[in-house]
Amino acid sequence: MYGKGLRSLSIATVAALAVSLSLVFFYAPLDADQGFVQKIFYLHVPLAIVALIGFVVGGVFAILHLRSGDSRWDAYSYVSIHMSVIFGVAVLITGSIWAKASWGHWWVWDEPTLVSFLIVFLMYATYYPFRYAIEDRERQARYASVFAITAGAFVPLNFMAVRMAESLVHPRTFATANGGLPGEMMFTFLVSFAAIGLLWVTLVKFELTAKSASGQLKRLRRALDAPGPGSTSRVAPEVS
């Protein structure tokens, strides 16, 4: 069920990533201030935005799970958060590399944008031990949903707080007051954002398909292990 359209989605993602990389390195102009190192922007920023949206999407799925009690939504929520945590790792590493190249430091502790993202990331890192500390599957799904909703609500609040805070070194790229991106850079950014978004959707679908197959396999194993209603009378005598 989850695997439907995965192949075409994967092809679209690879094509979008290829177009995005071509635009980044052959179309987008060099930044007047930072030069070539600014190319990291087209990877780092879309990853960060997609990761944050993914956390919120995980919260929305969790709401649907609590409303309907359908475990399918819990799986969607879990996989969305899982994928966003992986993207979060990429955001932190690419951000650190960019910081080292631009500011001369791998990390700056008094910069609200960096620290707030780290807080969000660490908060979601606790999702796994929290979830798997509960053995009962229903309770586990319910508590994980409550966590996903609470944390998901924190993400936009945190984003707004950071936007309002005084920035020290991290740029506010999309601030309209101080100018925005030039057209070519904006176009390249939007294509990169679409490509990274597609990648997130594809990987979520991929993991959901694998999880669904694993679940079906467990069901099949249980069904085969259990003696059928008709089989006891026919198979059991043979064994004895």
Partner: protein, 69 residues
């Protein structure tokens, strides 16, 4: 800080993109291993189901024979 020269900036840009690529490749490799495990288990279960189905086909004949006796 002034903009880094291309040869120096190139290392950082390549590093960032390679890290991203490595992360994706590692993730896909883990998922591929998982899918392989599922496929292997599925093969085992299919074999088990076939054996069981063959057993079910043989058993009624024996019952019939037993009933005749």
């Amino acid at each position: 800080m002034p903009a880094l020269p291309l040869d120096e900036a190139g290392k950082y840009v390549a590093g960032a993109y390679i890290v991203f690529l490595v992360l994706i490749v590692v993730y896909v490799a883990i998922m591929a291993a998982k899918v392989q495990r599922i496929e292997k288990e599925l093969r085992e279960l299919a074999g088990f189901a076939e054996t069981r189905a063959n057993g079910d086909q043989v058993a009624p004949e024996r019952e019939e024979v037993g009933a005749d006796v």
